[in-house]
Symmetry: C2
Subunit: 136 residues, 2 copies
Amino acid sequence: MSEGVHPRPAGQDAYTIGEVAACTGLTVHTLRWYERIGLMPHVDRSNTGQRRYSNRDLDWLAFVGKLRLTGMPVADMVRYAVLVREGEHTFAVRQELLRAHREEVRSRIAELQDTLALLDHKIDSYADARRVSERA
Amino acid sequence: MSEGVHPRPAGQDAYTIGEVAACTGLTVHTLRWYERIGLMPHVDRSNTGQRRYSNRDLDWLAFVGKLRLTGMPVADMVRYAVLVREGEHTFAVRQELLRAHREEVRSRIAELQDTLALLDHKIDSYADARRVSERA
DNA sequence: TAGAGACTTCGAGTGCACTCCAGCCAAGAC
DNA sequence: GTCTTGGCTGGAGTGCACTCGAAGTCTCTA
């Protein structure tokens, strides 16, 4: 977790699971788990059966990472992934899904900004109290 | 959760747990649990052993609620609560704790705003795609 | 020819933040 | 006086999102 996320290795569009883990910050367990639950579209395999992630796969993971950071439940992300797999006729639904999520993110930001004001106020009042007690 | 949070009932400074649940949006389970884990200072009891929350208790719960909304882990809130109980000589530590949390909230906001931009972009691109396909 | 790292299934464990249950008690309404 | 509502306790259970382990096989790089 304290791992910095490494840059995408200059690529032949065929990263191993270990490389992807290193550059996304996810564990190999999580990557395989994402695939199992349908959050990750089917990943190419080498002729020996090993996963080979493409740049598109990395883009998708980056997007999913953003959604996750903004608190979208995994189940919703899976729903979105399914829609993507179903093709272009789901554009409207997908757009709606993202729109709804955008509203949530917006109100979350507003909420955080509210609290920020409260924190500022509290921190100031501690500063005042300490100044008074030092002077005493 | 879809419950609106009710206003604080005009009070004799002695609310029952049910009233507090109604006006904070927390469940009675959660309120008792907060007390068990030391997140809630000791609450007064009636002569029959029932909890009687004061306005100060409600203020504290409101503050804790804000911290929770901003993602502070319960363990950290408990640490803060302990410091409060220890008295004024912990002002500096408390201030530091809030300061650190403020930084986290700030970077969280930045993160969310980043994603907001991405969402806007995605939503727009769906709108474009749909406009094109409708015209075709 | 090692050793690292990939693969599989699949079930169990973790950490957090609740959430609920069983079994009991007390007060007010009818 | 019993019924309902709401309170009490300690401990167990839930849901999410991972996270890990076992146990065995295969493959790539030095």
